[in-house]
């Protein structure tokens, strides 16, 4: 009885892991990098050196938007904080290819003109759950992958039940046993994190993948669903008569007073040039574990308070807490690095799992095995190269290039495609080693190239207390060391000797 459960779980674990393994690796690695989304955004906009208090920066941004994009139906702004200096602005713009623009604004001038056009950390964040596919397919696929991940985690606990016995075991140089040890250690030690991040990841997309509860209660009435979900939201149709916005500074000050110690987070301005404009200020997502809690709304023309709302319904609180746990906007530095480390461990669990699938089938040489072997290379070694290529593209593409932010993304995908192709063309072992050396070189040389092109190098950053830039450079050197260590490890690994047949262990 027990044996058959173990066996069926083994099959489930193997195939749920393999089926979307490469996708899961990409989702996990981009998500892990997204832990430092603000820092990546800051690094990718080296022209920005000004710092301004959040309210001043929002004032500057609103001033620029009122001049440059007064006709937009809404401006959605995220205030700068201790991690990111720029204001992030989203607004509709018929002239933009996507119909809307998502840009960073300088905190002192409010304008985007003096900085290079880039998506910054937003690209990896979006890729993490949209996979660069049209809405809603990317999100559905990411959600399905997360569900398979949860299945793989739970079935993994069942089939590797012995992992809790000698839980700290890592035996080097024993071929498949070593891979299995690494897979178990990486998977088990941060198991609470893995379960949490996977389950909460599913929760973030729950309204898309499981809309039936809402549909049963509200039918197709989206407006009412939305209104009851966020009862604090003040919205009203445009009046059609133009009116200028009252100064936003006093509104921000009033909102901050009501947040009682909380910071200003998001500011949205609906119908900004209309008599019925509404300014809504929400507190900072990172002020509490739960995602977005309190809002204050103002009549844009007069600056009068129209309503204030603090979420207190248990179900919404629970949802917001699970959401916040996944987004980690709250995380102080120690927790943030732990999120990063645990995320890398999860990526490592997936990568070692993919390698194990092949190890368990050594000797078999069908086209399927060939495909898995090659795709493992292109994904596990290729994706870090693609992410580094994105950063290289950010530094090397000319400043005024038309569609520059899209070109950076193209560099990412071309680099990834090239790595996959390389994996198919070279002998397997050589491809692994060479690609990891490429990644190591890409990471190690980037700080120097960045210094040459921007002047914000390591020594300058250390002497000037520029934490973002020295932190980023040291991180790149650490990654280079990691990639080089992996490349050396693979090179030192002897080609597997003719295997002594033993009873096959479950993979």
């Amino acid at each position: 009885m027990k044996r058959s459960l173990r066996q069926s779980m083994s099959g489930l674990h193997t195939w749920s892991g393999l089926l979307l393994g490469w996708l899961l690796f990409a989702i996990t690695l981009s998500g892990t990098a997204t832990v430092f989304r603000s820092e990546i955004s800051g690094w990718m906009r080296p022209e920005v050196t000004a710092v301004a208090p959040p309210a001043k920066a929002i004032e500057a941004a609103v001033g620029w938007l009122a001049r440059a994009h007064p006709k937009a139906a809404g401006w959605y702004l995220a205030a700068p904080d201790d991690r990111l200096a720029t204001v992030q602005a989203v607004f509709d713009d018929p002239a933009a290819p996507a119909g809307y623009r998502d840009i960073a604004l300088d905190p002192s001038t409010g304008s985007p003109d003096a900085m290079r056009a880039t998506l910054g950390g937003e690209f990896l964040y979006r890729f993490h759950f949209e996979l660069q596919l049209p809405y809603p397919w990317g999100r559905i696929l990411a959600s399905a992958a997360a569900m398979l991940m949860l299945i793989a985690l739970i079935s993994g606990i069942i089939i590797h039940a012995r992992i809790f016995k000698d839980v700290f075991t890592l035996r080097p140089g024993k071929g498949k046993r070593s891979w299995l040890d690494a897979h178990n250690v990486l998977g088990v030690l941060a198991l609470p994190f893995h379960l949490m991040i996977t389950a909460t990841g599913i929760v973030t997309l729950l309204t898309l993948t499981m809309p039936w509860a809402a549909m049963a209660n509200y039918g197709q009435d989206l407006a009412r669903t939305f209104a009851e979900q966020s009862p604090g939201l003040v919205s009203r149709p445009a009046a059609g008569t133009p009116e200028t916005l009252a100064p936003i500074g006093p509104m921000l000050a009033e909102a901050e007073r009501r947040f009682a110690g909380g910071r200003i987070g998001r500011v949205s301005i609906a119908n900004p040039a209309d008599a019925n404009s509404v300014v809504t200020v929400a507190n900072h997502d990172g002020d509490q574990l739960a995602y977005r809690q309190s809002t204050v709304s103002f009549d844009g023309g007069s600056g009068r308070v129209m309503g204030a709302y603090a979420e207190s319904r248990p179900a919404q609180q629970t949802y917001a807490a699970l959401y916040g746990l996944h987004m980690a906007r709250f995380a102080p530095w120690v927790s943030r690095w732990l999120y990063f480390g645990c995320g890398l461990a999860l990526a490592g669990t997936i990568a070692t799992g993919l390698v194990l699938w092949l190890q368990a089938r050594q000797g078999a040489a069908g086209p399927g095995h060939m495909l898995v072997a090659r795709l493992n290379i292109g994904t596990i070694a290729g994706l870090p190269i693609a992410m580094l290529a994105l950063l290289w593209g950010n530094r090397l593409l000319p400043f005024g290039l038309a569609g520059r932010e899209g070109a950076e993304v193209s560099v990412f995908f071309w680099a990834w495609g090239a790595a996959i192709l390389f994996g198919f063309l070279r002998p397997v072992r050589r491809a692994w080693i060479e690609l990891f050396w490429v990644a190591a070189a890409g990471a190690a040389l980037l700080p120097f190239a960045s210094f040459a092109l921007t002047g914000r190098g390591l020594w300058v950053a250390i002497l000037g207390g520029d934490r973002l830039f020295w932190g980023f450079d040291l991180m790149l050197f650490a990654l280079a060391a990691l990639f080089a260590a992996i490349a050396r490890k693979i090179a030192a690994h002897r080609a597997p000797a003719p295997r002594r047949r033993r009873t096959p262990a479950p993979a």
Partner: protein, 115 residues
């Protein structure tokens, strides 16, 4: 700064739990004494969690502790991998360090509430 107490305590706790397992005890060249080491290990883990929870925001603290415990477990694995015989002395040192940091943090809290 509760991590300064929570991390070494978690390391010591997990190391003791590890030393109570046959294979790891052999690796560390120890005669296994599971009866005493395992409960002591769990006690240290609980102390580590308590050190984490003595922070202004307990919700943040729980999340941080789960990560710290994973990091401590990773350190135990690396120690057993590279210097297995050092595990027992390192656990003792970590427990001492953690206890000192724990008492210091407690002292600070008492001072803060009385001033």
């Amino acid at each position: 700064m509760s991590a300064a107490a929570a991390l070494p305590l978690a390391f010591a706790g997990l190391a003791l739990i590890g030393l109570s397992m046959d294979r790891h005890a052999r690796q560390a060249a120890r005669v296994a004494r599971p009866a005493r080491q395992r409960p002591a290990g769990w006690l240290l883990l609980i102390l580590s969690l308590a050190a984490s929870l003595a922070a202004p925001n307990w919700r943040f603290a729980i999340v941080e502790w789960i990560g710290l415990a994973a990091a401590a477990a990773g350190l135990v694995v690396l120690t057993l991998y590279g210097r297995p015989r050092a595990l027992a002395p390192l656990a003792l040192a970590a427990a001492t360090l953690g206890a000192v940091a724990w008492i210091a943090a407690l002292f600070q809290m008492v001072l803060a509430t009385h001033s």
